[in-house]
């Protein structure tokens, strides 16, 4: 399996995890370890930046795990940029998952404010990973703004509904020059595998693991599914190439 490169980091796992909704920080830690994930996102709002002994962060101190602070709670670009700067200082990383949802019910991202914030954060030296709609034009604009990846949603966040945005995701993956990470809506390992087979660079999962009856085992299941999906994607590419080589050129008669 190819490794995934984002900014200056290489990841052998293509499964990224959210850290909310777990029954305890310890359970979250065990699930993260079982998932093999090397990038986990942490909500700034959940972390007590004033102490060094924050419960959530203290369970994520493993050399292979990189923290990805997120701006969940920000309702506009201004709040997100401010939160990002706090997070950079407190968590000592310039990586940022940009989330702006003015709508607290469905938690849908605001495309206009997200693009605005992304432009600004890139200038400020952040590695920006924006959560956004499965909107192909928006994804191109975020790419042009200098985002390291794009993170379109598979279906509404927390819905466990899988890849309801499939047709749009295919277009986004097809034309993107940055890694496409499917974020939100992945409710089962089969959904994750499906996204990976489609060519997603990675998936981000939270609810499906945190709320499972056995989160650790579910994390492991996702690990396998993501690997399987990626391997299938890479294998499919190989197969296609082989077929093309084997068939005789249809235009040979022209010579």
């Amino acid at each position: 399996m190819n490794t995934l490169k984002i900014a200056d980091k290489e990841f052998s796992s293509r499964l990224f995890l959210g850290t909310g909704k777990f029954g305890s920080a310890k359970q979250m830690e065990e699930a993260v370890l079982a998932s093999g994930s090397e990038l986990v996102t942490v909500a700034l709002r959940r972390v007590d930046l004033e102490t060094d002994t924050d419960n959530l962060l203290s369970h994520l101190r493993h050399p292979h795990i990189h923290l990805l602070p997120n701006t969940s709670g920000a309702r506009n670009a201004k709040e997100a940029v401010f939160a990002a700067q706090l997070a950079r200082e407190a968590m000592e990383t310039n990586w940022l998952k940009l989330e702006i949802h003015p709508d607290p019910k469905y938690l849908l991202p605001d495309p206009i404010e997200t693009l605005k914030a992304a432009e600004e954060l890139v200038k400020l030296g952040f590695v920006v990973m924006p959560y956004c709609h499965a909107d192909a034009v928006l994804c191109k604009k975020l790419e042009e703004a200098g985002c390291a990846v794009v993170m379109p949603l598979g279906s509404p966040i927390g819905s466990n509904n899988g890849l309801q945005m499939r047709a749009m995701l295919e277009i986004i993956i097809g034309q993107s020059n940055v890694p496409v990470i499917v974020d939100a809506g992945i409710g089962a390992p089969s959904h994750a595998a499906e996204a990976m087979e489609m060519g997603a660079a990675a998936v981000l999962v939270n609810t499906a693991i945190a709320v499972a009856q056995n989160p650790v085992q579910m994390a492991h299941a996702f690990r396998l599914a993501v690997q399987a999906g990626r391997m299938a994607f890479e294998a499919k590419l190989g197969t296609k190439k082989k077929n093309a080589e084997a068939s005789s050129p249809l235009t040979a008669f022209l010579e």
């Binding site: 909704k21 777990f22 029954g23 709002r45 709040e79 706090l86 019910k105 609810t207 709320v211």
Partner: protein, 378 residues
């Protein structure tokens, strides 16, 4: 404004509609794919749904975990003042109740805050009686700015204010406003609230509209359960919520369940207040039904259960739909550190410390959450 919708409903007719819901209506509401309607909510709070309580509880638990995970948020109320210029026939702070009145000074406020902070809290709810002079918007501004550096999330439960007053408080650090209609029974509302600004039913009814327009992050709604028929009142509360969510879509909403308790209110209600309507006490079973009904109706709604409820009830409700608990609450100004012995607004039933409640939450496989907001988000 909500009154446009509210005025198209009739209390008695609504009550009748709820009572006439059948088991088939309840089954349909439970099995529905996708979002439930207000009509489904009616079925879920109806007497017919009582037979399907276990089914409701199972579904409510699933939906709650899907949205909120296995977490319970904790907050503490900080009573700033028991001054009140209203007469409410059910409340300990009522103007006609001859109790020692107290409003915390800056020094006392900080001592109380320190005590709450030491318990582990980072989310705080400031409570006052309703007195526009002694605890008006200037006092609140000052109190919020004193507490702002110490807490990540500040809510208030005070007298309804004007839109521009709410807007003034936001830059100081106000996030959430709780304002309960008490009852949507307009006629009887006047009997419960005979004197003071609170006697103005429609000013109170339109408070959430003013909050929404002012841009307050979160609005907490509720009715005083037991004052009137809880089913009818809760339907109107859900109707209010449904209207607000569509209109003020950037706002978060929570519902609280203040329930009249026989032991703490009997004397007053049956006393010399000229109060003709007997409270309609709600059973534990019915309160569970209501909480589950709200969850099934609205998956994203925060549901808050206070220390008015018993240990046993609270221990069990966290698996059934509640998302937010207070703990170790003192309902008297100065109750945490300054003057622990003074008179409470209502009798706390679950007297366990926040640490003990957090341990109970953890024992059930849930994470007690002390911080879920940040000052970064104004």
């Amino acid at each position: 404004m909500f009154s446009d919708i509210f005025n198209t409903y009739d209390w008695d007719e609504t009550r009748q509609r709820i009572r006439s819901k059948t088991d088939a209506d309840v089954a349909q509401a439970l099995q529905r794919k996708g979002r439930r309607s207000l009509d489904d909510f009616m079925a879920l709070i109806s007497p017919a749904a009582e037979a399907r309580l276990e089914e409701m509880a199972q579904l409510s638990r699933l939906l709650t975990q899907k949205r909120f995970g296995k977490t319970i948020q904790l907050y503490a109320p900080l009573y700033l003042s028991n001054e009140c210029s209203n007469i409410c026939t059910y409340c300990g702070f009522s103007f006609d109740n001859k109790i020692p009145r107290k409003t915390l000074t800056d020094d006392e406020l900080l001592r109380e805050a320190e005590a709450i902070k030491k318990m582990g809290y980072d989310h705080i709810l400031l409570v006052t009686g309703e007195d526009h002079i002694r605890v008006g918007v200037h006092y609140l501004k000052h109190a919020i700015s004193l507490l702002r550096p110490r807490f990540s999330h500040i809510s208030i439960e005070v007298q309804p204010l004007d839109q521009d007053e709410y807007a003034q408080l936001i830059p100081y650090g106000l996030h959430t406003v709780l304002v309960y209609q008490e009852t949507y029974h307009e006629k009887n509302y006047r009997q419960y609230h005979p004197k003071g600004k609170k006697s103005n039913f429609s000013y109170r009814l339109l408070t959430p509209d003013r909050l929404g327009r002012a841009g307050v992050h979160k609005i907490g709604l509720g009715v005083l359960l037991g004052l009137e028929d809880w089913r009818t009142d809760s339907f109107f509360c859900a109707l209010h919520l449904d209207y607000l969510e569509k209109r003020y879509w950037q706002t978060r909403y929570s519902i609280s369940f203040p329930r009249l308790r026989p032991y703490s209110t009997q004397g007053k209600l049956n006393g010399n207040t000229g109060f003709s309507i007997q409270p309609q006490f709600m059973s534990d079973r019915q309160l569970v039904q209501l909480i589950c009904a709200y969850r099934i109706f609205n998956e994203e709604l925060e549901l808050s259960v206070s220390t008015r409820e018993s240990e046993k009830f609270r221990d069990n409700i966290i698996q059934l739909g509640a998302t937010t608990l207070s703990a170790g609450s003192k309902t008297n100004p100065g109750g945490y550190a300054v003057e622990p012995a003074s008179l409470e607004q209502f009798e706390v039933c679950d007297e366990r410390s926040p640490g003990k409640v957090a341990a109970m939450i953890a024992e059930q496989g849930y994470e007690p959450v002390w911080k879920d907001w940040d000052k970064a988000f104004s």
